[in-house]
Symmetry: C2
Subunit: 697 residues, 2 copies
């Protein structure tokens, strides 16, 4: 996207000389921030604007134009695009609102515009957006009031934001903190260029090392699947603030799995699977940007804490423990070195509390910090300051930067004190490579993310979504619910371990089948109109003999007819009753914007009461499937508690992995519940005791 | 504590003329901040300090002295105290370190000092502390570098902080945000005056309306029990940042209950029970201070959101939904009013997105805000700004304050933008009664706390700890573990429903008892040396006849002898086997610094795997006990799921309440496990099927 970041010429369609107008502001921002390419106002009403020749159309511009900022209203956008196409423009920023966000007519216009641009080799940014900034290239192409107040210094942070006002608000907070950007793009309605494409571009962009994303409704969500492995490959973290947690699911949740797979839970699972760092708030995004902007990565998870306040030290240790990071005891040599310089000092420990003595003995800080960074048990250092001011701040900064230059370990600062006490100190440290946080807890959250990202396994990510295969024999019609027997027959053909069962239509036949199968057996109604058998009285368990089976058959048929007189009844299933299982598990598939999601959970009361489930995008490797099962809170129940045998976790993982392959192989959008999957003792496999499959209309 | 906040005279023992010395700084801070009472330097080495007469001792000062700031080192503190006692001083701040925090000798000195002060009617603040500030009285009595940079304006926030550096760091951040304090005290080691006493003082203090507390190791924790009802009575929130979450429990956790009642979980439960607002970080403390500093309280939980950025509006709604607050649809009249002034506008809804139009049509903001505050479905308003600057900020502030003056609903601002874009705007709003937050999520967390505090029930709080009663018959020796039979006999005498059981010593006796009791029965080893029977093979369930009982008796005795050859064996218990219970519950008691804690949890695998417990300080009312049971995540399991009958929750609550009364009646520090308590179907009560009682050594 070189033509976007470094356009040879930029035209402003709708440029204006009216003070305060958008047309005038766009032009001024572009000039004031030092953009070196050609700047071309376009407006048939003016011969010149602010000393620059003004052209009646883009086509009339003599030099090359790669980027057009179109300030025209929605109704005139098509005309402007035609003008751009004639000139061979590469990128058009459509600032105006009044498109998809304003109802059907706007959406149609958005589609028309996009189709036209694609047909003519142009890409559109927006509509309904503020524009872009490429500090690397001194390009400020947009109209945020921020642009009149800030000088962008080139940095390594890239940002893609769907929201303009909020996005540039976050940028302003970042700049205030001393963070520096490479590229910033506000995508608005994403009629054409979307977040996933821009994130991919920034992952491949040499000047960008960390990517911040603010996203609302994700367009072309499946394109995100490829970004995980790219992020891992490039070693560039993607930090995502995804809002819209509370929006209702887009598909009606007919299956149990789908109701568990709330939209937002799926995003959570997907981002984790892709190795992306999801944050909950603007603060967290900036904290992570601050720590990832510095290039050092800790070799392990041991953190040394040095503090001028015992209280801040305790808060840091609380947070480190909660985050699962280590607070290792200092090595003997470190203790001796520090003891030697502070003979009267109380406890030499981690955290090391220097107290107010840092004020009376200024060399103490540097000496102790140097000693700690050399300690091999520590992988990163957190220095907690509270109220410092004046010359003591300058000295502390010098000392910190001196020691920083001697080590390749990251050093961070938490500074719980007003900016007015040490104006500019935080920005100076941040820009010199020492991230500064407002509290020990926030510093620790950032360190935890840095350690997690640095130690992420190579197995993260998700395979590309393959083209779906043909529908298998017995595949449902759109909107159809398959009966247990139909669904299990599909599953059995796909190699999944379903319980043995036979459809019978008379009491005598039921008894004969049961005799052959061996007691006890289960009897279940078989009807396309009764997806939930229990409530209809369509289920009998533990039938131990011929008479019981015959009576049960009559009872079930009667109950179901009473429950739903017009239900189509195929008869009953005589099914083996599985005895001796260790656990009931639910395994399911449901569609999501990023592709089919596999859900595994502890079944029965656990899933109803504790919602203990694990979710990932399909397809899964065997290792993925094992990891999903192992991350259930109730995993312990499968490993042999209270004298029980351990369950056949391997077999369960194999079921999950196989289901995940079906999830991307069977066509269309569908939901599957295997509930329960009975997991037998280790070595004895699993049995799918019930199944439900629904194809979306 | 009038003599503390408004001392008639303040003496500085160790005053000095040396520039930069603590003695000189203390004096200057006291003078510079405008303290109007007598200021008396004390130091035998100087006739005068900085133009003030310097006295050789406190006793030599002619005027009254209520407060002494003692700058002497630990070894000279006793002498200074004697000097103060002779003068009749009320309060002495001991700044020096080198006491309890430095080992046994320091701790002894601390005790000596405290005993002396109490005997002479003086109160000590510290040692190891920075001092206090009473902006209400222009009193700055301490030595934080902050004091040279800040003018304290009197406000309504009180603060009690154990940590000096961190505490005054938090104060500096608060001041920077426009928050104003009434009183600030750093308590340090709390040799005498402790946090609980000072919080009580501030709850009773007319000029203080909200109390901030930073606490590490809580001294005299039981005194906190009384603060909950006082806070509720006065309507003054207590906002607590309690660190030391990761510290190990102070009592060895021999019982299951005590291991569940980790120290920090108990603090969490106790603060909630006392109606105090526990926060996790400095940011949260300041956010809550900001919202509680303004005096308005919302009548309900409906929040109206107005935003200049769609993105910020979505983040606000996400947070409001997650916090359980309402985002009600606007009333018809509100919609009509807003529609009338913005005819071309898209969607009139909550959140109301004004977009960038607020810039082009400045009256829009005020009109829409006025219309929203008048809507009866809204109880509070959140206005989300992003990048605003210059004149538009001034106008927005004026409009906000105009509308604020017309309503008694709270109005809050979230401003996601750099301070440099609108310098001073946030402070101006905060001081005019509009709290400002850095993000929508943070604003919502604060609103949620405000709503929760405003709507808190009158039933919150905990009764005073009564004097313990005499030990009941059969009470253990210190360090003793009671057997199931002994513990149950105590419980039965206290009116608790234990299972029927008889101690037997031969197989024949066992069979005879079982015949009489009715089958099935349980057989359990009875030994003071086998607290955990299952692992010793000392438990047999479901014995259905005479032979089974006799064989089980022999098996149990053999197993236990093999498991622990030297165990003292009393014989076996023949116990009724309770059938038909709905749930297994664990009920327990464990000691805590605030008094005995009652724990209720779902027993068996639930407590082992999901740690689903609820805890409160004893004693409990019947309503408390019911609420504890109802707040279990798995409460649903007691209400009749999967076709089960509902459990006898009333009877369970009665057991919990009765146990909680024993918790404060039986003497000493002890742990009790009732595990399991079998809860029968509604109307059929509970049975305590096993019990363990341990008295601490």
């Amino acid at each position: 996207m070189k033509a976007l970041w470094q356009p040879r010429g930029v035209a402003i369609v709708g440029a204006s000389a009216t003070p305060g107008s958008l047309g005038q502001r766009l032009l001024n921002y572009l000039r004031d921030h030092g953009y070196a390419g050609g700047i071309y106002p376009v407006n048939p009403r003016y011969p010149e604007v602010d000393g620059l020749t003004c052209y009646p159309s883009v086509g009339a511009i003599p030099g090359p134009v790669d980027l057009v900022l179109a300030l025209v209203g929605a109704e005139r956008v098509m005309g402007a695009l035609q003008d751009c196409a004639a000139k061979g423009v590469a990128y058009v920023v459509v600032h105006a609102s009044g498109f998809g966000e304003m109802g059907a007519r706007g959406a149609a216009l958005e589609q028309e515009m996009t189709a036209y641009a694609r047909a003519h080799g142009m890409r559109i940014i927006g509509p309904n957006c503020i524009g872009l900034v490429s500090p690397t290239d001194h390009l400020v192409a947009g109209f945020s009031p921020l642009f009149s107040r800030v000088r962008f210094e080139p940095g390594r942070l890239g940002m893609v934001t769907q929201s303009g006002a909020l996005g540039y608000g976050i940028v302003s907070l970042a700049v205030e903190r001393g963070l520096r950007f490479s590229r910033i793009v506000n995508t608005g309605n994403e009629a054409d260029l979307c977040t996933a494409e821009l994130v991919e571009e920034l992952l491949n962009d040499d000047v960008t090392s960390t990517i911040l994303v603010y996203s609302e409704g994700v367009k072309r969500a499946a394109d995100w699947r490829a970004l995980g492995s790219l992020s891992l490959q490039r070693g560039k973290p993607v930090i995502v603030l995804k809002s819209g947690r509370s929006e209702a699911g887009s598909l009606a949740a007919a299956s149990h799995t789908a109701s568990l797979a709330g939209d937002d839970a799926v995003w959570d699972a997907a981002f984790r699977q892709l190795g992306m760092l999801r944050v909950d708030d603007v603060d967290d995004m900036l904290d992570l940007a601050a720590i990832f902007q510095q290039p050092r990565r800790p070799a392990g998870s041991g953190v040394g804490v040095m503090t001028t306040s015992g209280g801040a030290g305790i808060l840091a240790v609380d947070s480190l423990s909660a985050a699962g990071l280590g607070v290792p005891a200092l090595g003997d040599r470190t203790c001796q070195e520090i003891q030697a310089i502070f003979p009267a000092y109380g406890t030499i420990a981690n955290p090391l509390d220097l107290t107010g003595q840092i004020l009376s003995d200024p060399t103490m800080f540097r000496t102790a910090l140097r000693s700690m960074v050399r300690d091999p048990v520590l992988d990163a250092l957190l220095v907690c300051f509270c109220v410092l001011q004046g010359a003591e701040v300058d000295r502390a900064i010098d000392d910190l930067l001196t020691v920083l230059a001697e080590t390749d370990k990251p050093i961070l600062v938490s500074r719980t004190g007003g900016e007015f006490l040490a104006p500019g100190a935080a920005v100076k440290l941040q820009q010199a490579g020492v991230p500064v946080f407002a509290s020990p807890a926030r510093a620790v959250r950032a360190i935890a993310a840095l350690v997690r990202f640095t130690q992420r396994g190579p197995a993260l990510g998700v395979a590309p979504l393959p083209a779906p295969g043909p529908a298998p024999v017995g595949w449902p019609q759109p909107g159809q619910v398959l009966t247990e027997r139909e669904a299990k027959s599909l599953l059995a053909a796909a190699g999944l371990p379903v319980t043995r069962e036979v459809l019978v239509t008379t009491p005598a036949e039921a008894a004969a089948v049961a005799e052959q199968m061996g007691y006890p057996v289960v009897l279940k109604i078989d009807s396309p109109d009764i997806p939930h058998k229990t409530e209809a009285g369509g289920l009998r368990l533990g039938l131990g003999g011929s008479t019981a089976v015959q009576n049960a058959f009559r009872d079930v048929m009667t109950s179901v007819r009473t429950f739903k007189p017009d239900a189509r009844l195929n008869g009953c299933l005589v099914q083996e009753q599985v005895e001796g299982s260790i656990a009931e598990i639910i395994v399911g598939v449901s569609p999501s914007p990023m592709g089919p999601v596999v859900t595994v959970g502890l079944g029965g009361i656990f899933v109803e009461v504790f919602k203990d489930v694990s979710q990932r995008l399909a397809p899964l490797t065997a290792d993925d499937a094992k990891a999903m099962v192992a991350e259930l809170r109730g995993f312990k129940l499968l490993t042999g508690v209270r004298g029980q045998k351990p369950a056949d976790v391997e077999a369960l993982a194999e079921v999950v992995a196989r289901v995940s392959r079906l999830a991307v192989q069977w066509p269309g959008q569908w939901e599957l519940d295997l509930n329960p999957v009975l997991v037998m003792p280790a070595g004895q496999g699993c049995r799918i005791a019930d199944a439900l499959l629904i194809l979306s209309p």
